[in-house]
Amino acid sequence: MKRRDVLQVGAATMGLGFQPWVRAQSSANLKPGKPYAGTELSLMTVVAPQFKAHEARLPEFEALTGIKVKYQYVPFASTREKLTAELVAQGSQYDLLSVMDVWGPSLYNLFDPINARLAEKKIDMVERYPYAHLRASRDGNGNGKNILGMPIRGHVQLMFYRKDVFAKLGLKPPATWDEMVETGKTIQAKTDLSGVAMYYGKTGAQNLMIWFNYLWGMGGDLLDAKGQPAFNSPQGVAATQAYIDVLLKHKVAPAASASFNESDAANSMAQGKVAMYPVWWWRFAGLVDPKTSTLKPEQVGFAPLPSMPGKDSTTYTNTWFYGINKNSKKKDAAMEFLTWLSQPEVERSVLLDPSLNEVVAVQTRNLLDGDVNRRFGGMHLFGAQALKGAKGTPLFPQWAQVSDLLEATMSELATGKTQVKPALDEAASRARRLLRS
């Protein structure tokens, strides 16, 4: 099936035709007359090409409103600590803050709910954002009433693969995890590449990102209906076994995968050592940039993540949002900024910027946009499709500890020194203890 056909089918399946983009004027509902001219806002964020692209567009905002926004970059690895300090001191060092949902709902106490402001600006969050991203910006474990910020960065998982190798061997991107193993074996037999770059090392819960797909795909879950650990259920054990077997039993991942984190695996792919790599879509840029990769764009293909046979793919997604600091004294001006920044047009202009290879998009309209999909070969339609069935980060308060527990368990299992069922049972009993508190 040609790519174009896939796109048509995909779009039709979602009950929408190609959305021709109507060049509209700024849809932001900014207050007329520049009432906040001269205000200076301070935004805490991290260095990412997407955010840098936003920063480059700030002069436009300043011209419209007279508000100056200072981007204060904090090391990505230390953002939690800065946010904690801000939270504990109930400070107003920053007017706007960014939070990633995986850091847990504790940090959500930093923000001022913006429901009333959204209504005033006539922003329809449900229309704008897929449910998977929207829930991350709500309180109450994703089901609360209060909306705490605007999703700004959100990710979808894809399977990147070597188009040239697959073409030479007559292979198709795998549709199920078992197919991935078979494809991997073929590749390892016929070339000197490894099959798939997995990452089981302990770093920031990265080794859980793909595991979630296995777990949910097999019908397992983290917690059961009573809120007790359920990942050591028979489905959980089977899922974990299948996940670990990719390395230990089938050996279609490079041996070093046991210690890899996500970027080690990216480097492995970029160095041409491995033929498949399941990861977040934004890794695309690094795989085709001659400064960071030995691969050419025509060698890098992508496909939706495999799923369990006969089931729909249930992928994992995570979301960042920007919100207004509860203690800020410039909340109205801050809302002006959020209104402007979160316009679909801004996101779209970054996506279509020829000087960047930025694929990150969180708004439904942009995910379905014709120009965007033409530029990135339909990646965003895949993304929109994946987001429909995607589950986000668990948002219960003890998640940080449970996640740490699970990632330690996974990394230990990958060393081959422990068995799946006892390890998961032990983790479940510790998790039960944690959830009691």
């Binding site: 302990k202 920031g204 308060p397 510790r430």
Partner: protein, 292 residues
């Protein structure tokens, strides 16, 4: 000033440093100590919660398998780390304690590992050991062919070795400098007198050099123990406490509990258990030092 003359000189001399340390450290230490008797989970409240007495301490010591595991890991880490550092520093100091261009060059190099940021050292060692492109992994594979496929950071024992090696690389050269200073202040005459009396090199070392070196050795011992117990950045960036929890030390545990689990009171209690251990051991050490 008349008043000043009435105050004993030693208080005047002590005052600046003492006053400063007290002024700066009093509030933070007091705050965190009191916090260890309260429950404070940032997820539930932005301000410290109820007073729970010794509950945090009780949980840690009796009901927290992670804490106990961290204690075990820490013991192994600290004892090996300090032991190896001491031996390397002493050996290197004896080696370099003589004239010569090469020795002088080596001495100039000794400060370099110490001034590198621990995070940089940790990350670099992590990349050195990478199974696909790590230079150390590669060289070890050349020297010991059976280890060509060993993935260091996927093995609990080897990860611990790596973490210790990184910390020793970071600190031992500096400790060598300290030892060299100690060796230099031993009067040559005592060693020469023993030699003239016909003692062997080893006997000279054991009976003359070593006893005079004891003060410096004890400084190195205690200093390294304190910093080994506090080591965090290097472990965080090298192995992230893994695989599993095999390199998760107490310092790591405290950090995670505070900044990842947002369990502030509990973290404070864990920190003060660590402090209590250090207090007891240094109490003994000080008794020795002040006896002289």
């Amino acid at each position: 000033m008349v008043v000043l003359r009435r105050i004993p000189v030693h208080w005047l001399l002590l005052a600046p440093a003492l006053f400063f340390v007290a002024a700066m450290a009093l509030f933070p230490l007091g705050y965190s100590f009191l916090l260890s008797f309260r429950e404070w989970k940032l997820a539930r409240s932005v301000t410290p919660g109820d007073w729970v007495g010794l509950e945090n301490y009780w949980y840690l010591l009796t009901d927290d398998p992670d804490f106990l595991e961290a204690v075990k890991v820490t013991s192994v880490f600290v004892v090996s780390n300090v032991g190896v550092t001491l031996l390397v520093a002493l050996g290197a100091a004896l080696l370099l304690h003589r004239a010569g261009r090469i020795n002088t060059f080596a001495r100039v190099l000794l400060i370099l590992p110490f001034v590198m940021s621990p995070a940089l050292v940790g990350i670099s060692f992590r990349f050195f050991l990478n199974g696909e492109y790590g230079i150390v992994h590669h060289l070890i594979g050349l020297a010991f062919p059976s280890m060509v496929n060993t993935i260091w950071l996927a093995d609990s024992t080897l990860s611990m070795v790596a973490v210790i090696a990184a910390d020793v690389w970071h600190w031992a050269p500096y400790m060598t400098l300290v030892m060299l200073g100690g060796l230099a202040s031993i009067p040559k005459e005592t060693e020469e007198a023993a030699r003239v009396d016909g003692a062997s090199a080893w006997a000279v070392f054991r009976d003359v050099t070593l006893p005079q070196l004891l003060p410096v050795i004890s400084v190195v011992l205690v200093l390294k123990t304190v910093f080994a117990l506090k080591a965090f950045d290097i472990i965080y960036t090298l192995s992230n406490g893994g695989p599993g929890r095999s390199t998760q030390t107490l310092a790591y545990f405290v950090y995670e509990t505070a900044f990842n689990y947002y369990n502030m009171g509990y973290a404070a209690a864990a920190a003060y258990i660590l402090t209590a251990v250090l207090l007891v051991t240094s109490g003994f050490y000080l008794r020795l030092v002040f006896k002289k």
